[in-house]
Each structure stands twice: as C-alpha cells, then as structure tokens.
C-alpha cells in the first residue's frame, strides 16, 4: 500500500499486538506495520496454544478423542462433540436414535446462542464499551450453562455426545429449563438490540469497516457468519442437511455489505432463527432412548470399537463456520489419520486483507468480528 500524503511527516512503525493482549481473544499475535495510525501490513502469528491434538488423537481410541474435542473451541464444546460424532458415525455407519437426534439439535442450537451472544458482548468490549454488554451476555450464557451442567455434568467441557446418541437422556426438569430459556431469549435479544443496534457509536465504528468482498470470501474458503455477511447463501445446515435439520423451518440471514456491522447483525438474526429451530425441536421431540443398547456397549469398551477401513469427512455448521473432521481408519481401534478443519483458523487467514488501510483500533474490532477462539486456531 502506498504511503499517504499528509502534512505531517510520519514514520513506519512495527507493533506487536499480543500474544498476551486482552483484545486478541487469547494467545494470538498480530505483527502490525503502521504508518501513523493506519495499518500498512498485518501478519498474524499463531501457534502459541498448539497442543498436538491431532497426533494425540491418532494414538487414542475413537472415544478418547471426544473429551479433547471439547477443548478445541472451548465456548462451543457441544457442536465440536457433534461434528466429531457425526464424522465417526459416517465412518462406521452407526445409526442414531431419534430422540438423541433431537437432543443433539437442541444442544447445538443452544451452543449457537451462547457463542453469538458472547461474541457480540466481546465485540463491544473491543469497541471500548467495557463490560456492560459483555456482562449482559454472560448472564444469559450462565442460564444455558446451568442446563449443560445438569445434562452433561460439566459447564464447558461437556463430553456429551457418544457415537450413536448422547451420553445421558434429557430429564424433564432440564427440558422445562430449556423451554424457559427459549421463551425468554427473544426478550433478551430485543433488549440487547435496543442497547446496541442503533447505537450511533457502534454504527460509526462498525459500518463500512473491514469490508470483505464476496469473491475474496469464497476464494479464501471463509465459512459461517463471516461468509453469509458478504451475502453468499451458504449454510451447511441447508446445504448438507446433516442430522435432522431438513425437518425444521428456518431462514438463513444474509448480509449485504460484508462489513463489521453486517457481521454483528447477522449473528443477532441467526440467534433469532436458532430460537425458531429450538421451539420446533422441543415441540416435536419424541420419547425413546438417548443411546441404544449397542451404542451403550460401544461406549462401555472403546477399545473394541473398530470401524472398517476407509476415510470420511464429516462436517457441520458450527457457530463459527464449517467445522469438519477428516478421519482415516485402518481397521484398528485408533484412527490412522485425524484432521480437524477449524473454522476460526481458516477465517483468520483474510485478516490482513480486511485490515489494510484502516486504523489500529479498527483492526481490533475486525479481529473481534471474525470470532476466533485460539483453542481451535492452534489445536
């Protein structure tokens, strides 16, 4: 980028933001070259949180990787579990019980609510609205986490899905709690929107900042709300129709400009659609087993579970984008190759393109709007 002609004589300045900086959402470093306050070059540096997840999984049984997937994107452990379970079920051809399918959808959509609420809160934190929106977001998240705790035993590291179903059935008390949350959520969203959507500061800071073009988004294989904010109609829940999503009526929100404001607003709209899915799923949920006898026996002795030779790629629309697991089986009890396609990592690759020409403060909110979790970026 050419240097701007200004009255002041400016100098190039290289700044490292991170790895331990509150605005980088974890241990992530941005190597930024600045001309005055304008970003001229930005190189993301990642890998500080590398935990060897893929190699560990290759030495462990299929089920033993399940609790490790919780730690990928530690805000949405339920969807990580779901993606992995779907990949293994596809590999070994395991049927899933009807009730478990519905429980899975409910949990996945609740996770989407958590993720998007939290993201909006943190985005406002990055904008400088210290803690008021974040704490409202955390308060709502707390209610959902209480349900997760009652159902799966842990608030964040759920380890809830099993191949062929879910670990524990949804108790009637938990279902009542979920109904309450779903009934009250639109009111919270209305309030949240009243607080934020028309706020002039938010509008002037977010609109026309960090515009991502449709072509670049598709070329860089950006997925999730990031892609939909540019106006590309691509939601894996619709495209693949995995699990039982085709049974539910919901719409895919699309942006028009592809700036930070669109990305913010898409998430609010997606939460409203999630609530629609949740309402339908709760209403239609059948009785039955959460995990059938065969799957129970499999969960009891993970070493005896040996899927046939072959490879598979299972993917879902996680709250952040396309989360996929690529598994190669050699017929033994542990995977020969285990690969994760994390949405935050792929979405992060276009950070520089979005930030060029903007101010440093804008680079922070552009990073915030990508919605990264470093546990997933570095694995």
């Amino acid at each position: 980028m050419e240097r701007q002609e200004t009255a002041l004589d400016t100098q190039m300045l290289e700044v490292n933001i991170g790895p331990q900086h509150p605005s980088t959402h974890g241990v992530f470093r941005m190597n930024v070259t600045l001309d005055g306050e304008t970003v001229v070059r930005l190189k993301p540096a990642m890998g500080y949180l590398h935990r060897n997840h893929e190699k560990i999984a290759e030495g462990a049984s299929y089920l033993a990787s399940m609790p490790f997937t919780d730690r990928l994107d530690y805000i949405c452990s339920m969807t990580n579990n779901l993606a992995y379970a779907i990949a293994v079920e596809k590999l070994a051809g395991i049927p899933v019980t009807e009730r478990a399918q519905y429980i899975r959808i409910i949990m996945a959509e609740l996770t989407r609510l958590i993720n998007h609420t939290l993201l909006v809160g943190f985005l406002l934190n990055d904008l400088g609205a210290f803690f008021t929106p974040t704490l409202y977001a955390f308060r709502e998240r707390e209610k959902i986490l209480d349900v997760f705790e009652a159902v799966s035993g842990a608030r964040m590291m759920c380890n809830y899905m099993r191949f062929g179903g879910v670990k524990a059935d949804l108790t009637p008390e938990s279902l009542i709690k979920i109904k309450e949350i779903v009934a009250n959520y639109p009111r919270f969203l209305d309030e949240f929107e009243k607080l934020l959507t028309e706020n002039e500061i938010l509008m002037s800071r977010c609109q026309r900042v960090g515009i991502l073009s449709k072509a670049l988004a598709v070329n860089a294989s950006v997925t999730g709300p990031m892609l939909r904010a540019t106006g590309v109609d691509y939601d894996i829940r619709k495209v693949d129709g995995y699990s039982i999503y085709p049974r539910f009526k919901f719409r895919v929100p699309l942006g028009t400009v592809g700036d930070v404001y669109d990305r913010y607003y898409i998430r609010i709209l997606e939460m409203r659609e999630s609530i629609k899915i949740l309402e339908q799923a709760i209403k239609e949920m059948p009785a039955g087993e959460a995990l059938d006898k065969k799957a129970q026996a499999m969960a009891k002795s993970p070493r005896t579970f040996r899927p046939p030779k072959g490879d598979t790629y299972g993917r879902i629309e996680s709250p952040k984008g396309e989360l996929g697991f690529y598994l190669v089986s050699d017929g033994s009890s542990n995977p020969y190759r285990y690969h994760v396609r994390p949405p935050s990592f792929v979405n992060l690759t276009i950070l520089e393109d979005m930030c060029l020409g903007h101010k440093v403060a804008d680079a922070i909110i552009i990073l915030g709007s990508i919605d990264i979790v470093l546990g997933e970026v570095d694995r």
Binding site: P67, M157, D233, K300
Partner: protein, 194 residues
C-alpha cells in the same frame, strides 16, 4: 424463501443525523437493568461465593473417587487396569496387589490419580465394569505443592458407598439395585448347587 437479508438500520451512520437517540435508548436499557437489580428478585446472578453457594447439579463431575462397600481394605476395584488404559490424558496409575507367593490379588496395591492431569471427562466411570470408580463433586482442592499434594493416592480416593449415595442419590440407587441383581444371579448359578 430460505434466506433473509439483514435489514440495514437507517442506512449508514454517515448519511443520517447523529442525534444520539440510539445512545439514549441504550442508556434507558442500562438504567432499567440497574433499577431491576435492586427491585426484581433473581436478576442478580452473582453469589458471594465462600459464604453463599449455588446448588450443584447431580450430574456434575469433577475428579474420580474409588468406592468401597464395607471396609476400605476391600474396595470394589479389582485392579483390572481398564480405566487406566482408557483414560484420555493417562492420569491413572494402577499396580495390582500380590500375596506372599506372588499371585495377583483382586485389588490394587497402588492406585494413583494425578488430578493436575485429570481433565474430568468421566470416561473412567463409564468404562468401569465393576462400578468402582465414580466422579466426585469436591472442587475445593487447592494445595501448596503441585507434585505431591495433587497426586491422590488410594487412601485419599477411597470413599464408602454411603458417601456416593450422598452425592448422587439416584445414580447410586440404580447401581446398587443392579449390583444386587448380579449378586443374586451369581448365587443361583448351576455350579453351586451340585
């Protein structure tokens, strides 16, 4: 129509008058929340932790314990090593006890769980065929020494069945019923009557 376009609010900020109405509306929300925190019951989510505690869900799990029926010298654990093998972070160490002749006994000599490594996944509890290992709810485990104080030995891990009944009543009742049935089936086996 399966998709919807995000409605852009009064177009762009730059194209409209910035009167601060949006901010004022937002302020009303925060004011409402502020007043509600004093007047409306249940609107404050935080608790004053050490004095005030939230009830813990029955499914809640933290670190494993070993359950014994009558005496701690005779635990349910038979040192089969299944949990140690299936443990994803490999935090369980088991050494089987032996008698004077060197024959293996059906109980562990050493059963260590390094809780600084344990990730509370609960897989040990799921795979145990002898209903011996269960997840505890105790979470206040701070210690001064990370090498020794957090490596729990058998003596620290062993708990009576009554304790298990206290922390997880419904699960414990189910497991006790299942065990009783198994015992009955064992006693009425054809081999014993001959």
């Amino acid at each position: 129509m399966s998709f919807l376009y995000a409605k852009r609010y009064p177009l762009y900020a730059k194209e409209q008058l910035m009167l601060g109405l949006g901010i004022a509306k937002g302020m009303i929300v925060t004011l409402k929340q502020f007043i509600e925190s004093y007047t409306k019951k249940g609107s404050i989510f935080t608790v004053q932790y050490p004095e005030e505690r939230k009830p813990i869900a029955e499914a809640f799990r933290n670190f494993p314990i070993l359950v014994y029926d009558e005496t701690p010298e005779d635990p349910r654990c038979v040192a089969c090593d299944i949990c140690a093998k299936e443990c994803p972070p490999k935090c369980i160490t088991i050494v089987r006890d032996r008698d004077e002749q060197g024959r293996g006994l059906q109980k562990p000599k050493l059963f260590d769980i390094d809780v600084s490594v344990c990730m509370s996944c609960g897989i040990c509890e799921e795979v145990c065929p002898f209903d011996a290992i269960y997840m505890d709810k105790e979470f206040e485990l701070s210690a001064y020494n990370r090498m020794h104080s957090l490596n729990f030995h058998q003596e620290q891990l062993l708990r009576p069945n009554s304790y298990f009944h206290k922390i997880r009543p419904t699960d414990a009742a189910q497991i006790d019923a299942k065990r009783k049935e198994k015992e009955k089936a064992k006693n009425t086996q054809p081999g014993t009557t001959a």
